[in-house]
């Protein structure tokens, strides 16, 4: 039963398959394969992984744009796909900020009309003041409401998208690569804006990105996905101290450290080859084709996601063999160690 004690979001063994045609033959593509995760009120969960690992599909399922093939998505204990009004209300409490800022607003409507849409779909009263207030809150001039999206810059468009996502006061906002298309200084501004808004409004974020530094800056916890599966889940402090899955380590070593001396001296784990096709995923551990530590058992047996230490889960047969990381990239959230936090 729904109650305040349940986590805001629970994803239980969610699976999504697409029917695709490859070389004239019908095949099933498993974009997301048995993902479970949870998210508390006011928390930010970062999801990282390469392109094509199912991050976006997971995001679309969480907000209810796609229906999972299998598994459940619960908010405060209630299924978002429950029939009738209950399900609709639950789905309405989730919003999303999209990757492409210019494509996420109807080019033929004013920015104000786009921002007001979630509010107008609900009741429709006093939208004008609410839009002006919300635009101001995300750092835009309220007069921008009268403009068309293409008259705004990319950063402004993304701020407007954030305003639209937040205007109906959702409990969860999913960011699907929402800063990926912005330049680096704008990324920092938007991240700071998101942190401020979270403090003001208590919104939870599901922050999906391939940019590890950004995810580490904004998230409380991090989930690493590979080929539709969760391979590691831990707090951001643990993750920046020592990731345990070889894939996470390779992701970490792919991010540059600002200091060239440290950058040259720290251990690097380079991955060979591409992500295998999700149409025909490798046997056993899906990462074994690219893993530098793979042995026979990895190709035969699939490692389960198991708990190692405090709040650290990893799906690997030999997490203890994973190379250690001595250098830490941008500090975890809340330590005050990085400059962007205080900007």
């Amino acid at each position: 039963m729904p109650s305040e004690n349940r986590p805001l979001l629970e994803v239980e063994g969610v699976r999504k398959e697409f029917q695709v045609e490859s070389r004239g033959e019908k095949a099933r593509l498993r974009a997301v394969d048995g993902v479970s995760l949870h998210l508390a009120h006011g928390e930010t969960l970062g999801i990282v992984g390469e392109s094509g690992c199912g991050k976006s599909t997971l995001a679309r399922m969480v907000v209810g744009l796609e229906r999972p093939t299998d598994g459940r998505i619960l908010t405060e204990g209630g299924d978002i796909w429950a029939p009738g009004k209950a399900g609709r209300t639950r789905r309405a409490s989730f919003q999303m900020v999209f990757q492409n800022p210019s494509g996420s607003m109807n080019p033929r409507r004013s920015v104000g009309a786009s921002v007001a849409e979630p509010l107008r779909a609900r009741d429709g009263s006093k939208t004008r003041q609410a839009v002006a207030a919300m635009l101001e809150r995300v750092g835009l001039n309220p007069d921008f409401a009268a403009r068309r999206p293409h008259q705004l810059s990319g950063g402004q468009q993304q701020r407007a998208s954030i305003a639209r996502a937040l205007i109906s006061n959702p409990s969860l906002v999913v960011h699907d690569e929402s800063i990926a298309s912005l330049d680096i200084s704008l990324q920092a501004q938007i991240l700071n804006l998101l942190l401020d808004l979270q403090q003001e409004m208590g919104t939870s974020y599901l922050f999906i990105s391939h940019d590890l530094a950004a995810v580490q800056m904004i998230s409380h916890r991090i989930v690493v996905m590979y080929l539709g599966e969760v391979v590691e889940a831990t707090t951001v402090e643990e993750f920046s101290r020592q990731p345990l899955h070889p894939y996470s380590v390779s992701l970490r070593s792919a991010t540059l450290v600002a200091d060239p001396k440290r950058e040259r001296n720290r251990p690097h784990v380079l991955l060979k080859g591409d992500v295998p096709s999700p149409l025909d995923p490798p046997s056993g551990c899906r990462f074994h084709t690219r893993c530098p530590l793979a042995v026979d058992i990895c190709a035969r047996e699939k490692p389960q996601l198991r708990k190692i230490g405090n709040a650290h889960m990893v799906a690997c047969h030999f997490p203890e063999r994973t190379p250690t990381i001595t250098e830490a990239v941008p500090g975890p959230r809340g330590t005050g160690a990085n400059a962007t936090e205080t900007a």
């Binding site: 990757q99 109807n106 409507r109 779909a121 007069d143 639209r164 501004q189 700071n192 401020d196």
Partner: protein
């Protein structure tokens, strides 16, 4: 507020909510072709509406003293074999030409857009059925299908317009479907669904305005051919019934006297060509103006 103050904050500009249609018309007037097309079209629409007052004679009244008279002071465009004033008949015929062009194209467009949007948005089996049925219509040569339709429905202004509308609907459906498919994949569509907007509202609010621009251009360009198609039907005797003047049947009658009274062919044909030209040029202008990134004059901005 703890956000960076420099992004998106401009000096206070007065908030202006402008109607989107007004710049459209203004830009159309500024466009050379658009101004010409609009002017010619307005001229013909004026003739269609007020032709009875403007025309020097009753278009159906015979002047037995001036049969087949060449252009003169009394009869600017000459008279036909029954002594009817060609100028008055051309003016009266513009009513039919304009009416048919607008009725057939708007009906065809409405039908086509609805079919196209439904096919594009819902996809799957709905798309297949609608698309195949449109393909069948499309497979026939335009005029042949229109003739078959009129033969089934019977001749007359309304039936001929309807036949042309049916023949023209597949091209609108195709364009609407193609645009709907590309619009559907846009993120603002997902955003609207997330906002909790219902499907019919999404289709009207987000799909229709984005599907219409290319369709309107096609409509403007189709008006000329629709008008020509009607003239052809009427030439073949499938349009309005006689005494009513009509460019198509005027040409058909004039064919017999082409060597002795060429003005009977030249005048309605010139009117036909002028109206077609206006529709075509206007269609091009509408396309230039409706492009959201257009520059106003239809030319790219000069770069240094």
């Amino acid at each position: 507020m703890n956000t960076s103050p420099d992004i998106g904050v401009v000096s206070k500009a007065p908030a202006r909510f402008r109607l989107p249609r007004v710049p459209f018309l203004r830009d159309l007037f500024r466009h050379k072709g658009g101004a010409f097309g609009l002017a010619v079209l307005a001229f013909f629409i004026f003739l269609a509406l007020f032709g009875h007052w403007v025309a020097p004679y009753d278009p159906n009244a015979s002047d037995m003293k001036a049969l087949l008279s060449p252009p003169s002071e009394a009869h600017w465009f000459g008279t036909d074999v029954l002594g009817r004033d060609t100028l008055s008949r051309v003016i009266d015929g513009s009513r039919i030409a304009i009416g048919v062009a607008f009725i057939s194209v708007s009906v065809g467009m409405a039908v086509g857009v609805v079919i196209g949007i439904i096919a594009g948005y819902f996809g799957g089996i709905v798309d297949s059925i609608l698309n195949r049925s449109q393909d069948i219509l499309f497979a026939f040569p335009t005029l042949l299908l229109a003739i078959i339709m009129v033969a089934v429905l019977g001749p007359g202004l309304v039936n001929a317009s309807l036949a042309i509308a049916i023949v023209y609907s597949p091209r609108f459906a195709r364009m609407a479907r193609a645009t709907a498919l590309s619009v559907k994949s846009h993120e603002y569509f997902d955003a609207a669904r997330l906002a909790g907007v219902g499907t019919p509202v999404i289709l009207v609010r987000h799909m229709l305005p984005n599907v219409l621009p290319p369709v309107i251009v096609l409509a403007a360009l189709s008006m000329s051919t629709a008008q020509l198609a009607y003239a052809s039907l009427s030439f073949l005797g499938l349009g309005v019934s006689p005494p009513q003047a009509d460019w198509g049947n005027m040409l058909s009658k004039a064919r017999d006297f082409i060597t002795v009274a060429p003005w009977l062919v030249i005048c309605p044909a010139a009117a036909l060509v002028l109206l077609m030209l206006a529709f075509n040029v206007l269609g091009d202008a509408v396309r230039d103006v409706l492009d959201p990134r257009h520059t106003g004059s239809g030319r790219a901005p000069e770069t240094l």
